[in-house]
Symmetry: C2
Subunit: 213 residues, 2 copies
């Protein structure tokens, strides 16, 4: 067997384990899952799973990384589309907020739990910093595009505006997990975030007097 | 002993247990605390503690309630102060954001953990709804005051604006817990929330053209 085939085979095995693990993490939360659960769900042997991952934390960080890859890909796609930067921002918020509406079917609750649990052991800050700054990097491309073509005249730094956007998403997500759409009304929250961004980015020269900002 | 004295004595005992429990929850997180830990920290007998609380969850909900009481009291105080409603809003955000800066010394991480853990058991929605709507009720008094005296002309409903404000606080809090002030910069987040509220409430008739809102 050539090394190339072996690598592909390994990648497929790894993906199969991750897919199986994802469904049990969604069902049971981060702390409710053992390696035995993952082995059972994957249909592989115990040795087959341990060849790739030593513990549930390793599996879980791989799942988080895959989820972050998808977000970066999404933002890059939106940035590369031929439309105004502002349309890109609105589209991004609509897509992310739509994902939040179906958050109960996803990994988000387990991810928040993971960070709170692992944070207690003081190991998590570096991973979370990498996540935050990676997300800011992706947003920066989109927002800078709007500055360069004269659409945006931001009144705060792009990094601070990006953080605010990400923190709003976190706040809405965590409340969706706990309270559901009937109490959160994600669409209304999205509208408010869009109003904020329009004002903070001063899209196409909103003519509010500067003293009001 | 008259019933009045008995009640006062009971209340003092309860407070002593809650104070002791709070410090162990802050140190160990919600799931890291047993009734034995609380008994040891309180300096009372096992029976003395179990007379008031049957388990750590009961203790923890009492702590959450006390924390919420403090917030309602704060908002009411601000509402009753003789100043403009907008000054009240800004003061509220500054106080809450200042509390977030010192979040690592408080109960917040344990509270988020509690809701994620207990949510899995499906028991938490009612408690959290009560918390959310109680916070909205308090904010409504302050914001309605601004509407009635002609300071505010909100472009979203007061309830939706209050939710957005609370969700931003959640998002900033949870990121402070994980990433610390050097990555979050709470003051900059507060400034952005204030800009948002100024626009959403149309404080003192900001003359942005309606189409931009």
């Amino acid at each position: 067997m050539s090394p190339r085939v072996t690598d592909k085979y390994k990648e497929q095995k790894k993906q199969r384990i991750l897919e199986a693990a994802k469904s049990v993490f969604i069902r049971n939360g981060y702390r409710g899952v053992t390696m035995k659960d993952v082995v059972d769900a994957s249909g592989l042997s115990r040795g087959g799973v341990y060849l790739y991952f030593s513990n549930t934390e390793e599996i879980f960080s791989s799942l988080i990384e895959a989820s972050d890859d998808n977000y970066s890909l999404l933002i890059n796609q939106i940035s590369n589309d031929k439309k105004t930067a502002w349309e890109g921002v609105v589209q991004l918020i609509e897509i992310v907020m739509n994902n939040i509406v179906s958050i109960e079917e996803g990994l988000a609750a387990a991810i928040y739990e993971y960070f709170l649990v692992v944070n207690r052991k003081g190991q998590v800050r570096e991973l979370l910093m990498r996540r935050l700054y990676r997300a800011i990097d992706s947003l920066r491309v989109l927002l800078n595009h709007g500055i360069e073509n004269g659409e945006f005249h931001p009144v705060f730094s792009i990094d601070e505006i990006s953080k605010f956007l990400l923190f709003v998403m976190d706040g809405v997500s965590i409340n969706m997990i706990h309270l559901g759409e009937e109490n959160v009304n994600v669409k209304k929250q999205a509208d408010q975030l869009i109003l904020y961004l329009q004002k903070a980015l001063q899209v196409n020269g909103c003519d509010c007097p500067a003293k009001n900002i």
